[in-house]
Symmetry: C2
Subunit: 311 residues, 2 copies
């Protein structure tokens, strides 16, 4: 039976993995209902975040298979991304049959029409949950718990400015169905992230990092680390700075911007290497050689990547 | 009150105009329902096709305003296209807030997330009609008739290979609601297209034509003319050939491919100027200096543009 691969971006975060699991489940149920001879397999392009490991094990859901890339003729569904730079190696040889996403439009082209379902909302998992309703497919409790977890991590428990009324509604409904309080459930998920004092520095820098291409053709790398213990991260600023300086040198990035987000204090500390002047100009700050606290900045997409890409 | 412009592609066909009208209506109703202080205006980037003129007048619907282009800070919704080449002048300065489409992904980028709703189905109007159902907005009969008309022209009365079961279902439901037989209604629409023996040649060549960019960066122009009187079109082959030769010279296209589709005989006659070798190779034909009958070819998107763009 032909199999279609469903995956989120490189350096997957909880939303990328959970959306792939939820959407592959939905598509398999729809295929059964419509008598279509095809299966959908959730896979992943990188390591499992610690909170995802915990949620999957709590709900008895198998970890998606790790793939190295995709090949000629593979049919794929992209979730939680729509930029070639953030996707599987070999994507140009595969056939993209669907995209389900909540990010900006990333410049991909296809030869054939496809299903593209993007919404400017807080998480891809919220869009996946909406599709269950539209298609009239029953959601098992375990899948609901996985989707809810990612709706909460991606919106930083509804504190991120990316959170819409649509997110709040679907989080409330899904939490009621799962039988948990959304804020308590969100806090328990964030707490199972590893202690930043003990993590290898590359796990901090690359925990949730993405490449972007500026309009001048140069690439930049923007990494975010969400934590309930900002001081533990900042205690390692020198190490982090060395690591991102090395990335600039190795990969030729115009700059690497790393920011540690304190989800309780609701702000982020910026650390930047490379063309820091660019970043200074975009945000009206001075991040050259020192780190800068940015109150209220919680969302990479809306508050960090968007102004950089629009500059 | 801020106004958002809703428009289809240049050289608009019936689907491009009708989808803009239907979607602007839906968005205005949704804004009223949600108490949002915004209006949506259907506009157009070119002349009205004769069948659209007839349908709008039959249903008492105002002709969308013609615009020359869009400007800095305009908010826009693209319907029935997603390629900059086919869109409004100045699009790079506007903010695309939504795209609703049934074509391939055309390489646009945005700085901000957006609503993108594409499906690989026969018409954009079918997707617009589906949205009325999902959003629970009542569809007036006049809007239903306009949407139905475009579902029928864009699928060549359900004969085009782009027609899916989804299209057949929504056409049947909408026709029942309007109170017409879909095939009879479709034929009456096609019959009000002008007599190709009497049309100025540029109206034939540009009736439904779009620019595409090949992977080598060259541009091509692919025009389709659907008719119930193929012989009248072919009687003007020499004139058509001169017109498309002039387009190749003026615009620097790698080639211009014009094809006249006989909706009764279900096939198309290809006429090509410029790099005809490219087209010969893609289709395994010899269209150099002569026209070629292609039985079964009804869809530009699926049967003409897709193989050219994939080559």
């Amino acid at each position: 039976m032909p199999s279609i691969l469903v995956f989120g971006h490189k350096n997957p975060d909880n939303d990328a993995i959970s959306a792939a699991i939820g959407y592959a489940y939905l598509k398999n149920e729809l295929a059964k209902k419509n008598g279509e001879d095809v299966t959908y397999e959730a896979v992943r392009l990188g390591g499992l975040p610690p909170e995802t490991e915990w949620i999957l094990s709590e709900n008895g859901i198998e970890t998606p298979r790790l793939i190295e890339g995709v090949g000629e003729g593979d049919k794929v569904i992209l979730v939680d991304h729509s930029e070639a730079l953030q996707s599987a190696e070999g994507l140009e040889n595969a056939e993209i049959v669907e995209i389900i996403d909540h990010h900006r439009l990333g410049g991909l082209t296809t030869a054939q029409p496809l299903r593209y379902n993007a919404m400017p909302v807080g998480s891809t998992c919220a869009i996946v949950a909406r599709e269950f309703g539209i298609e009239g497919i029953e959601m098992p409790k375990a899948i609901a718990a996985v989707l809810l977890g990612a709706m909460l991590t991606d919106t930083v428990i509804m504190k991120s400015p990316t959170t819409t009324n649509f997110d709040r509604d679907i989080i409330a409904k899904t939490a009621e169905f799962v039988g948990v309080d959304p804020v308590e459930y969100g806090m328990s998920i964030f707490k199972c992230r590893s202690n930043p004092a003990e993590l290898p520095v590359d796990k901090i820098v690359n925990a949730d990092a993405k490449e972007f291409e500026l309009s001048n053709g140069n690439k930049v790398y923007i990494g975010q680390f969400e934590t309930v213990d900002l001081q533990a991260v900042l205690g390692r600023e020198a190490e982090i700075r060395e690591a991102i300086k090395a990335l600039v040198a190795e990969k030729g990035y115009q700059f690497v911007l790393f920011f540690a987000t304190d989800i309780l204090a609701e702000g982020s500390q910026f650390i930047c290497e490379g063309d820091t002047e660019f970043v200074n100009k975009v945000f009206g700050i001075d991040v050259t050689g020192k780190s800068v606290w940015m109150p209220g900045v919680l969302s990479r997409k809306k508050q960090v990547a968007a102004p950089i890409l629009a500059a």
